[in-house]
Symmetry: C2
Subunit: 145 residues, 2 copies
């Protein structure tokens, strides 16, 4: 596995796709999202359910219903998705798995690991979910391969 859990990877890809669709004024169904971001449909349903519960995305049931993100949601950082799925360990935890990370009682990796962790955090916090859509729309980046 990579840095994030598989569940989290699905979530990020899905949210990006929903964001893009929302900016085009469309709601999208689980089925469509699952196809476009290559994730198992029923599992993605559960993930989106959770993201919806914490208010990161919105949805409406029934015909022409589906998932979308309101303008407030588009302003939120990508970090919020990761936090909702994988928790804060990745932003604050010790690289060697010690119970807690501290300056006073650091592990051998601490000094360097802290930098990596900080860079990861700032990358996820500095960019909002909505900001990626320009890139996506003009086709310079992709959500599937």
């Amino acid at each position: 596995m990579g840095i994030f859990s598989k569940t989290c990877e699905y979530a990020v890809r899905a949210v990006f796709y929903i964001a893009q669709s929302s900016q085009e004024g469309r709601k999208v169904s689980i089925k469509e999202i699952a196809e476009k971001v290559k994730s198992p449909e029923p599992f993605l349903g559960k993930i989106l359910q959770n993201l919806s519960k914490v208010g990161l995305i919105q949805s409406t049931k029934g015909p022409h219903g589906g998932f979308f993100i309101d303008p407030e949601g588009l302003k939120k950082p990508i970090a919020d998705i990761v936090l909702a799925i994988d928790g804060e360990q990745i932003f604050t935890g010790c690289g060697m798995g010690l119970d807690y990370c501290s300056e006073k009682n650091p592990c051998p990796l601490h000094h360097d690991f802290k930098k990596v962790r900080n860079q990861l955090s700032s990358m996820l916090k500095k960019t909002s979910i909505g900001q990626f859509n320009l890139q996506l729309i003009k086709g310079s980046v992709t959500l599937y391969k």
Copy 2:
């Protein structure tokens, strides 16, 4: 979970402890290592068995036997431990879980994620297993809490 798997965290802590002991000229038993780095003893046994198979550490059976690291092993980078346990995905994989990471067909995170990944790689590759012992011996860093 953090950036590395739990198994990998145990492995790194254990290898550091073994390295320290080796530089003091002692072999150490699974029991001792498990206590000192806070890992489940039988599980750690399996992990060390694997590291031993790939030649990262050495061991001898019987009385006064145990694990140690030869001078060659001490020169190897920490990255080798991570690679042996978690695989190369963490060094090369796409942050959003796309099948492969590429410059030509990048995901939205690619540009920034690449930097994080590179920093992580260089951190793990630049320092050898043996280099940590000075810090460990003088007590400025720790392997348990």
